[in-house]
C-alpha cells in the first residue's frame, strides 16, 4: 500500500517562513550586515566566477575552500548552510549518477570508469560554486541588493516590481504556512483527495491575499500622491578599501595558482 499523504504531515508542518528565509535572516543579523553589498558581491561572486571558469582542480577547490572559511569568518551558522545546501546537493548527486554510466547499446547501461573524472570535476565545481553562492546570500540582504540593480542597466520598472515581489513574498509564504497548519489541524491531509483540496485552498488563499494586498497598497499610495515612482531609503555604507584590496589579492592568487602562473609548491 502506498503511504498516504497524511504520513508527510510532520514535514508539511515543519517548514515555517523563518526557516524558508533562513539565509536572508542570517544576512540581516550577521556581523557583515554593515558592509557595502558591492564589497561582498566582489568577494563572493568573484570566487563564484573563479570556481566556474577556472580549471576545476585546483580552481574550484581553492575558491570553494576560501568561501567555506569566509562563511565561518562571517559567523554564518553551519546549520543554516547545511539546510540550504540540501536541495541543490540532491540535484548534484542525482544528476552526477548518469555521468558514471555509458550506453554501449540502446537500452543497455554499463559502468564507465572514464566517467569518474568528469563526474568528480562537475560535482566539485558545483559544490564549490554553491558554497560561494551561499557566502553571498548568507551575508548580503536582498533588500540592499534590489535598489542597486538599476545601476547594472536593469530598467527601474523591473527592479521596482522585483522589490514589490520581495516585500510581499514573506507575507504570502507565511500565509501558506498558516493555512497549511490550520488545514493539518483539521485533518486536511488525511487522504489524497483531501490533501489536494487543501493544497488548492492554500494556492487560492495566497492568490486572493496577493491581490488584496496589491489593491490596499494601490489605495494607500494613491492617497499619498503616488506618481509611479517607489523610492525607498537605502542604508548608506562606505566601501572599505582594505576589504576590497584583500579581496582582489585573494582572487588574484587563486587565478594565478589555478592557471599555473605561480606554483604553490
Amino acid at each position: 500500500m502506498l503511504p498516504g499523504p497524511g504520513s508527510g504531515s510532520a514535514t508539511l508542518l515543519a517548514g515555517s517562513a523563518a526557516s524558508v528565509f533562513a539565509l536572508d535572516i542570517a544576512a540581516h543579523t550577521g556581523p557583515w550586515r554593515g558592509r557595502h553589498p558591492a564589497e561582498k558581491a566582489l568577494l563572493a561572486l568573484g570566487l563564484l566566477v573563479c570556481a566556474v571558469a577556472l580549471p576545476t582542480w585546483p580552481g574550484a577547490l581553492l575558491s570553494g575552500g576560501a568561501a567555506a572559511v569566509l562563511l565561518a569568518v562571517a559567523r554564518v551558522p553551519l546549520v543554516v548552510v547545511l539546510r540550504a545546501a540540501r536541495v541543490p546537493l540532491l540535484f548534484v548527486v542525482t544528476s552526477t549518477i548518469p555521468l558514471l554510466a555509458s550506453m554501449p547499446a540502446p537500452l543497455r547501461l554499463a559502468i564507465d570508469p572514464a566517467g569518474l573524472p568528469v563526474a568528480a570535476q562537475t560535482a566539485g565545481r558545483s559544490v564549490a560554486a554553491l558554497t560561494c553562492l551561499l557566502l553571498f546570500t548568507a551575508t548580503t540582504p536582498l533588500s540592499e541588493v534590489l535598489p542597486r540593480l538599476h545601476r547594472l542597466g536593469i530598467p527601474p520598472a523591473v527592479t521596482e516590481v522585483a522589490a514589490l515581489t520581495y516585500r510581499m513574498l514573506f507575507l504570502l509564504v507565511e500565509s501558506v504556512r498558516a493555512v497549511r497548519q490550520a488545514q493539518a489541524a483539521r485533518l486536511g491531509f488525511r487522504t489524497w483527495r483531501s490533501a489536494y483540496r487543501s493544497l488548492a485552498g492554500q494556492a487560492g488563499a495566497v492568490f486572493v491575499r496577493a491581490l488584496h494586498r496589491a489593491r490596499r497598497l494601490e489605495e494607500g499610495l494613491a492617497v499619498r500622491g503616488y506618481t509611479g515612482s517607489l523610492a525607498v531609503q537605502v542604508g548608506a555604507h562606505r566601501v572599505s578599501v582594505p576589504f576590497v584590496a584583500a579581496t582582489t589579492a585573494l582572487l588574484g592568487v587563486i587565478v594565478m595558482v589555478s592557471t599555473g602562473w605561480v606554483s604553490p609548491w
Partner: protein
C-alpha cells in the same frame, strides 16, 4: 527542476544566457510599457511575482511519501501571459537562487530558459489550443499545467544532455540517461501539478471571479474561438 549552481560548464552556462536574453528583454519592454501606461499595474505585477514564488512553497505529496513543489509556470502563464512570465519567472528564479540557493546565478540563463520561457509558452499554447478546439476550462488548465511542467523537465534534460553527451551514444544516449533518472519524480509531479491547478482554478472561479475576468481567464469558450 533547477540546475544547481556551477553544474553547467562555463561556455554552456554563458550560451543559455544569450539564448534567454531576447525573451527577457522583450518581456521587460512589455512590462515597462504596461507600467508607463498604468503605474498601478506595478503593484499587481509585484503581487503576481510574489504569488508565483509562494506557489513553490506548496508541498505536493508524492507516492514515495516525500513531497515536491509545483513549478507554477502553467498557472502563471495562463493568468499573466508568457511575455510577462519571462520577466516575473526570471525575478522568481533569481529570488529562489538568492533566498533559497535553489538553482544559481551561473545557471540562471539555463533555468530561465526552461522555467520562465519554454514552460510558460508551452502551457499557454496548450491552454489556447484546447480552448480553441472547444475544450472546457478544466482540460485546458490541466493541459497547460501538466504540459508546461513536462516541457520544463524536457528542456532541463536536454540542457544536461547537451552539456554531458554520452561517450558512446552521444546526446541521444545522454537524453535517455538524464531523462530516465528524473522521469521518476518529474512525470508524476507534472500530472499532480495538472490536477492541483485544475482545483485551484475551480476554487478561484468561485471565489475570485472578478479578478479572473480582469486577467482575461474567465471567458466563454465561444469568445475564445472567435
Amino acid at each position: 527542476m533547477h540546475i544547481a549552481e556551477g553544474y553547467l560548464p562555463p561556455e554552456q552556462a554563458a550560451a543559455w544566457f544569450v539564448v534567454s536574453a531576447p525573451f527577457v528583454v522583450h518581456g521587460s519592454r512589455a512590462l515597462v510599457r504596461q507600467v508607463r501606461a498604468d503605474p498601478e499595474s506595478k503593484l499587481l505585477l509585484g503581487a503576481a511575482g510574489a504569488f508565483t514564488f509562494a506557489l513553490s512553497a506548496l508541498k505536493i505529496p508524492s507516492v514515495t511519501g516525500s513531497s515536491s513543489h509545483p513549478t507554477g509556470t502553467g498557472l502563471g502563464a495562463v493568468l499573466f501571459r508568457p511575455p510577462v512570465m519571462s520577466v516575473l519567472g526570471g525575478i522568481v528564479l533569481l529570488f529562489q537562487a538568492l533566498l533559497l540557493a535553489h538553482g544559481g546565478l551561473s545557471t540562471l540563463g539555463a533555468n530561465v530558459f526552461s522555467m520562465a520561457i519554454v514552460g510558460p509558452w508551452v502551457a499557454f499554447g496548450s491552454y489556447t489550443m484546447v480552448r480553441r478546439a472547444g475544450g472546457g476550462m478544466d482540460p485546458a488548465v490541466f493541459a497547460a499545467a501538466a504540459l508546461g511542467s513536462l516541457a520544463t523537465y524536457g528542456v532541463t534534460v536536454a540542457q544536461l544532455a547537451l552539456a554531458f553527451p554520452d561517450p558512446t551514444a552521444g546526446i541521444v544516449g545522454a537524453l535517455a540517461k538524464f531523462g530516465g533518472i528524473f522521469a521518476v519524480t518529474q512525470i508524476p509531479l507534472a500530472i499532480s501539478e495538472g490536477l492541483l491547478t485544475v482545483l485551484v482554478v475551480r476554487l478561484l472561479s468561485r471565489t475570485s471571479g472578478d479578478e479572473l475576468r480582469r486577467l482575461g481567464l474567465l471567458r466563454p469558450a465561444a469568445e475564445v474561438r472567435a
